[in-house]
Amino acid sequence: MATLDERSILPWWTVQAKKGQVLRLGSPAVGARCYLALAGGVDTPMVLGSRSTQLRGEFGGFQGRNLRKGDVIGAIGPHAAQAKLSDAGMPEFGVEPPNFFLTSPSPVPPGDAEATVVRVLPAGEYDCYEAASLEAFWREDWKVTPDSDRYGYRLAGPTLNSRSAIEKRSHGIVPGVIQVPHRGQPIIQLRDAQPSGGYPKIGTVIEADLWRIGQTRIGSRLRFVKTSYEDALSALAENERYLDKVANLVALYRSSLLTT
């Protein structure tokens, strides 16, 4: 729930705040985290092309650290065309969240409707696991443990056993990679993933579905659905279609208001 002064603000909504107004963000009613987007962006220095914070490396964002009470952060502010609109009184409107546009993956067998379903490609060491473990990997729900953050989600579920001990040298990994440490409980590497790791990889959550994990709360459940490289690419294209469509609609809507 979000409020601007006393007025409730809907999710996925844009609204113009005036100097002195107070925006309050409560815990999200849907999903795990909420985003605040400011016109023009957050005014922090760009590091490696990003304004976000790398907490472990203590760089980027605002002094490379978590925000504290009392920190003051600027907004870059609207560009010229938007500024014209702000003067006129920026209209408020919202957009439809992506899950109503995108086709959601369906698990086999169908499971708990509350579980977040993501598509997974088998990865390098997939074939090294016991048949029963692989079957359980796709069939069972995985619980997101409290030991989960932007670096990775540690999951709890059936133990995944390899047919023989797998010893790997450290190698390059990407966000989405599902590693299996020796105790057989998987870890999904996420946005702040390490660039390398040595654990065997059973699968990779496709890039198009990583946002779904980002919105999966600690304590809730995940399901994996097997997909193909081609389908992973089409899913990514579908995400981009949604973003392009929304960007076009918003631009059209705003420009139509400017002419009135």
Partner: protein, 155 residues
């Protein structure tokens, strides 16, 4: 754009019972809304105002009908919310968002044009509506005849 061209467009619209059209060309956007004295669209405006929907029929008892300011799909409930924005009997203030119009992936607010009580909701959640479709009836409440309490953003 020449005035004769606009006249021609208007005469075409008149013939085919289209109530609104928007034409975009480089540097020009033309928006025409037709009036139909006999129909429910008894308002004429050369261009849309994005403030409060202008089409509100005011009855003699001070009740107003909240109408759709755009073609779209009427939503009583935000896709991410469990309960409707307003229900019958709810007190609202001027400028409160009482519903949404979904136009493709955009969600446009439907505002309460005055303070009062929601007397009835005339359109089902998810129904397609046109310009001027009556959406809700709003009656002035005796205890809270508020024209001043409404707090709006963006204007």
């Amino acid at each position: 754009m020449e005035i004769n061209e606009i006249r021609q467009i208007v005469s075409w619209l008149d013939e085919v019972d289209i109530y609104s059209i928007e034409l975009t060309r480089a540097g020009t956007i033309l928006r025409v809304k037709m009036s139909n004295e006999a129909g429910p669209f008894a308002h004429r405006s050369a261009c849309a105002n994005h403030d409060l929907p202008e089409a509100q029929a005011v009855a003699s008892d001070g009740a107003v009908t909240v109408t759709a300011a755009s073609v779209g799909v009427f939503l009583r409930v935000h896709p991410y919310r469990a309960s409707p924005l307003v229900s019958e009997g709810d007190a609202v203030q001027k400028g409160d968002i009482v519903g949404l119009l979904r136009v493709a992936q955009l969600l446009l607010p439907v505002y309460a044009p005055q303070g009062g009580l929601i007397a009835s909701v005339m359109v089902a959640d998810g129904a397609a509506v046109g310009f001027g479709t009556p959406l809700m009836a709003l009656k002035r409440s005796i205890s809270n005849d508020s024209e001043t309490g409404g707090q709006r953003n963006g204007n």
